[in-house]
């Protein structure tokens, strides 16, 4: 059901443009340039939002506000180029009346529309497509992603998702799976989070007794995702030797478990992802070129949040709405705080925004939330290829583990190079990895 909106303004250019934006947001818009026209509209339609100018050819918009039953209609916003004490007093006397002074700045207007949509719950979904559940956006960049998901979802082609951390690669992978209609499961594995020694077993499975600690036969993610979708995250972190085997699995459509001899057919759709430039990864020797072409039947770039325009505000309001549902609150984005959200570069993308909203929600005492980006508050709290984040109180063994795995990844899993860089022997590297592997088979490391 569409929310109704009245725009009463004798500036026809403004009224038409404001109406166009509101229509795009899902409102059914009634334009009026005189009091008489406005009275006709509100007489027969309940308005969820009224934008009311004061200086009109046949009277003041204030007359209309005095006449109508405020309980019958929703929000009223007085929008005036001639602020007066009387109109301002009228506005503050009722929570249903907002007071905006022309010219409206930045996203003041679209923010008002979003708030009303949020309160009424009548807003149209950004895109009416079940395949993109979990993805929100109205920007042109995200509409391209939505269209791509709808087009390529049902195909068998492999997809390579390229995007910065926090841009929603796994969410898009799940959407592709849902759009595929495949009966099997969606299974995800982060190739950068599993020690190299364990990755083969996690991917392809192993037979009992195939290596120390292999107490039972283990089904790899390829088999778990049979007739479904396998999401290989951080594919460029996979050791090159495994990339060769992965390519063979993809070419033959069969998997042989570690320590096994029997090949099992694996009808799996592959969606891989990386936050690196894949061509640069090929050039630096991190990614095999032949595997890239096998994985990237369809490459799909996910836009960073800073290139998604007003989606920042849309997402912030969505996260607040979810938190309101969870905690039974009625908090909202502080009017006027939109500009700072739009200007921030959001290096952590949607993940950073969600975290900033949650922090504001839980820590701010009032209902109007001032969302402050994480990276402004804590610019150093950012892991990257060249940096590791250590927290106070972290165990020394965990510090050692992080340094070793990150250095190995940096050296393309060349243990000799990593040992040299760390000033330890290659044997120590081997011993440590064996210890991590043992810990993992005991349930230490999540796949």
């Amino acid at each position: 059901m569409q929310p109704n909106m009245l725009i009463l303004d004798d500036d026809r250019t403004f009224a038409r443009s404001a109406g166009e934006l509101a229509s795009q947001e899902g409102f059914s818009v009634h334009l009026a340039h005189t009091l008489r026209q406005a009275r006709e509209s509100v007489g027969c339609t309940r308005m969820d939002l009224m934008l009311v100018d004061l200086g009109l050819p046949d009277g003041s918009g204030m007359d209309l506000i005095h006449e109508i039953d405020l309980t019958r209609h929703g929000q009223i916003a007085i929008v005036t180029a001639q602020p007066t004490l009387e109109s301002a007093q009228r506005a503050v006397s009722s929570p249903a009346v907002e007071y905006l002074i022309k010219p409206l700045h930045g996203n003041q207007y679209t923010s008002l529309l979003h708030r009303v949509l949020q309160r009424t719950g009548k807003g149209a979904a950004p895109l009416d497509c079940p395949a993109v559940r979990g993805l929100t956006g109205r920007s042109a960049a995200m509409h391209s992603v939505f269209r791509a998901i709808q087009r390529i979802g049902p195909a068998d082609a492999s997809v390579l998702l390229v995007g910065e951390s926090g841009t929603g690669k796994e969410v898009v992978a799940r959407a592709l799976h849902e759009a595929s209609g495949r009966q099997g499961a969606f299974v995800a594995i982060n190739c950068g989070a599993v020690p190299a020694e364990l990755l083969a077993s996690q991917l392809f499975g192993h037979e009992r007794g195939s290596f120390t600690g292999a107490h039972a036969r283990h089904q790899g993610v390829f088999e778990q995702a049979a007739n479904g979708t396998l999401f290989l995250d951080e594919i460029t972190e996979m050791p090159l030797a495994l990339q060769v085997y992965l390519l063979r699995v993809l070419e033959t459509g069969t998997v042989t478990r570690v320590g096994g001899v029997e090949a099992t057919a694996t009808p799996v759709r592959i969606v891989a992802a990386t936050n690196r430039d894949p061509l640069a990864a090929i050039a630096s020797g991190r990614l095999r070129e032949d595997l890239y072409y096998r994985l990237a039947d369809i490459p799909l770039n996910l836009p960073p949040l800073r290139e998604r325009g007003d989606d920042v505000l849309l997402l912030a309001e969505l996260f607040i709405e979810r938190l309101n549902e969870r905690y039974g609150g009625s908090k909202y984005l502080l009017p006027g705080s939109e500009a700072s959200l739009l200007q921030h570069p959001w290096p952590g993308n949607v993940r950073e925004l969600r975290s900033a909203v949650q922090r504001a929600y839980l820590l701010d005492s009032g209902d109007a939330l001032q969302v402050r980006p994480n990276s402004v508050m804590a610019p150093a709290l950012h892991e990257s290829e060249q940096a590791i984040l250590f927290k106070v109180g972290m165990s020394l063994s965990e510090v050692e583990r992080k340094v070793l795995l990150k250095t190995l990844a940096h050296c393309n899993h060349d243990k000799t190079a990593a040992a040299r860089m760390l000033g330890i022997s290659v044997r120590t590297v081997h011993n440590q990895l064996a210890r991590y592997a043992q810990g993992s088979s005991d349930g230490d490391v999540a796949a």
Partner: protein, 61 residues
């Protein structure tokens, strides 16, 4: 209309004109993002018209 009234009137008109230009520009941007060039051009006329109003008002200062 005395000087004070004329200034207030001009201020009011200028605020309206700038407001219309900004709102029309937002619509143009939205249509361009969606690849709707004819609609963008249509609302660009609104930006032109509002800016022309601003120009006339500023020349009266």
């Amino acid at each position: 209309m005395n000087g004070g009234d004329a200034d207030a009137h001009r201020n009011h008109a200028l605020r309206n004109a700038i407001n219309a230009a900004l709102m029309s520009a937002q619509v143009v941007r939205r249509h361009l993002e969606l690849g709707n060039c004819p609609q963008a051009l249509d609302f660009l006329d609104g930006v032109d018209e509002s800016c022309e109003r601003c120009r006339v008002l500023i020349e009266q200062l």
